[in-house]
């Protein structure tokens, strides 16, 4: 397992895409957070409340794509066969990918969320700002979204379809539930959670776990 981890870490750091995606996540989270705070400040002198840490809704996209690419990209090039020849225990491969992904997303997510919180405080000093609990929850949320991407890509075995599927889960369910009288259960079971990150965290974790479980199972039984 240690060797598999080392290999996955080497893979992650030797291409440019993960770096750019994580930088993109940080920039997107902070930019949207600052933009929303600025909009709120300019509209009503700060009386209107914009959901705190709203930037996470944008920052989750590059993070999800990173999760997808970690395994989906290998199917695109055929490298997955080299990976599985080198580490035949397939669950170990997926576990190593999940751990390395977590290790990469957690610090980047922390920077992103803290940056967004700092921007909000700077622009809207009057507002309460996010609680430490919300900040921690948002970082955890980003990690779970990355893992969801990994699991979904392991299921569909294609980076483009994987990205489409995950983004659909993240962005479409909330929209779809607005359908007339919307099936309310949909709203509660969407991975993006009903009222932003912290409340829906358990649900998000469930989605990530289910995707990883199914992905791992399929990885185990399918031909590579």
């Amino acid at each position: 397992m240690r060797a598999a981890l080392h290999a996955e870490w080497t893979k992650l750091r030797t291409v440019a895409a993960p770096r750019w995606l994580l930088l993109g996540a940080i920039a997107a989270t902070a930019a949207l957070g600052a933009g929303a705070a600025w909009a709120a400040a300019s509209v009503d002198g700060g009386a209107t409340t914009v959901p705190s840490l709203i930037g996470v809704r944008l920052g989750q996209a590059p993070v999800a794509v990173l999760g997808v690419l970690v395994i989906g990209g290998e199917y695109g090039t055929g490298m997955i066969r080299a990976t599985l020849a080198a580490t035949p225990r397939r669950t170990a491969v997926l576990a190593a990918k999940a751990v390395v992904l977590t290790g990469a997303v957690a610090p980047a997510g922390a920077v992103a969320v803290l940056g967004s919180a700092a921007a909000e405080r700077l622009i809207l000093p009057a507002a309460d700002g996010p609680t430490p609990r919300a900040i921690g929850g948002s970082v955890l949320y980003l990690v779970l979204i990355a893992l969801l991407g990994l699991g979904v890509a392991a299921i569909v075995r294609d980076a483009a379809s994987g990205a489409g599927a995950v983004l659909a889960l993240l962005y479409l369910l909330p929209v779809l539930t607005r359908a007339i009288g919307g099936p309310r259960w949909l709203q509660r079971i969407g991975p993006a959670g009903p009222d932003g990150p912290w409340t829906g965290l358990g649900v998000t974790a469930g989605w990530a776990a289910a995707a990883l479980l199914v992905g791992g199972l399929l990885l185990h039984v399918r031909d590579a």
């Binding site: 290999a7 291409v15 290998e74 090039t77 066969r81 080299a82 020849a85 080198a86 031909d223």
Partner: protein, 311 residues
């Protein structure tokens, strides 16, 4: 002592309704280069993927050093493999590709530079994989296979995309690997590529091993009872010999291969018919002949032309 090399026994696998493997069995011994030949679709690549634990089978087993591949702890130290050229990430350098593989086996990065030297990839090692030619990707794949210094090597179509220099290098390289006592399995759909390399041959067709024997034995078996006739009047000679009950196959320029009649009887018949000829000798089959003979029935997508004349 545990058995060494690769043992493949009774592999069966279907893709939908079409059988991909239909009782594939053979073994690969240390110290020799085993050629794995057969037409496209004969099941060579599938067999190799099964050996590597990438594909599952419905029946049979493929063992590496007596164990299934998927139970190996540090598999690259036991088996080095090259499947459909190395597939590095287009944005990752060749060296980094080898680096993660090395890390997966707990190998030091020093080893990476060694194998890069060994396959002659040093000048391109730090370029992006996406910029590699097919020949460079093949060398990168060989380097990956050598990484763990494994006693067993398995290479799928290693000559693909190589220039003549590369092919000569590859042949010498494979022989040297076998000379070091390693078991080497090399697949190809072109007989000429393994011609001067393989000591042992597994001929695949329709998901089965049609032959699993030493090259010399195979050549002898196919050569037996055949005579090479050199004549400037091939059509005339063919007519005379066919009338006498022989099978005649056109060979090169001015030569035909005759089977079904001994050499002295052929000479007599031609003399009696006043057909000019310059040579009648025992036929020495090429691997190409062996291959054609064995796969004649097994070729699934064969062109509908034949030069063979039968009664």
């Amino acid at each position: 002592m545990s058995p060494t090399g690769i043992v493949v026994a009774g592999l069966r696998k279907r893709y939908g309704a079409a059988p991909a493997l239909d009782g594939m069995s053979f073994s690969v011994r240390p110290g020799v280069v085993t050629g794995f030949v057969g037409p496209n679709g004969a099941g060579k690549s599938t067999t190799m993927r099964v050996i590597l634990g990438l594909d599952a089978v419905e029946a049979g087993a493929a063992l590496v050093d007596g164990r299934p591949y998927r139970s190996l702890r540090r598999p690259l130290n036991r088996v080095g493999s090259l499947l459909d050229a190395a597939a590095p990430h287009p944005g990752r350098s060749g060296r980094d590709h080898l680096l993660w593989l090395a890390h997966a086996q707990g190998l030091a990065s020093r080893r990476v530079d060694q194998v890069i030297e060994q396959v002659g990839l040093a000048p391109a090692a730090r370029r992006r994989g996406g910029a590699y030619s097919l020949g460079m990707r093949q060398r990168l794949g060989i380097a990956a296979a050598l990484l763990g210094d494994p006693p067993i090597l398995m290479l799928d179509e290693p000559f693909n995309g190589m220039d003549p220099d590369g092919i000569i290098w590859m042949r010498a390289f494979l022989r040297s690997l076998a000379a070091q006592g390693r078991a080497v399995l090399v697949s190809s759909h072109l007989m000429s590529e393994v011609q001067d390399v393989a000591d042992h041959l597994v001929v695949a067709g329709r998901g089965r091993a049609l032959a699993d024997a030493a090259v010399d034995d195979l050549v002898a078996a196919v050569s037996e009872g055949r005579v090479t006739l050199r004549t400037t009047a091939a059509p005339h000679a063919t007519a005379v010999l066919v009338r006498a009950g022989a099978s005649v196959v056109a060979g090169g320029r001015d030569t035909v291969t005759v089977s079904g009649l001994p050499a002295d009887r052929i000479a007599a018949l031609l003399g009696a018919g006043a057909v000019p000829f310059s040579e009648v000798s025992a036929h020495r089959a090429t691997l190409e002949d062996v291959y054609l003979e064995l796969t004649r029935e097994a070729v699934e997508y064969r062109a509908a032309t034949s030069t063979e004349v039968r009664r």
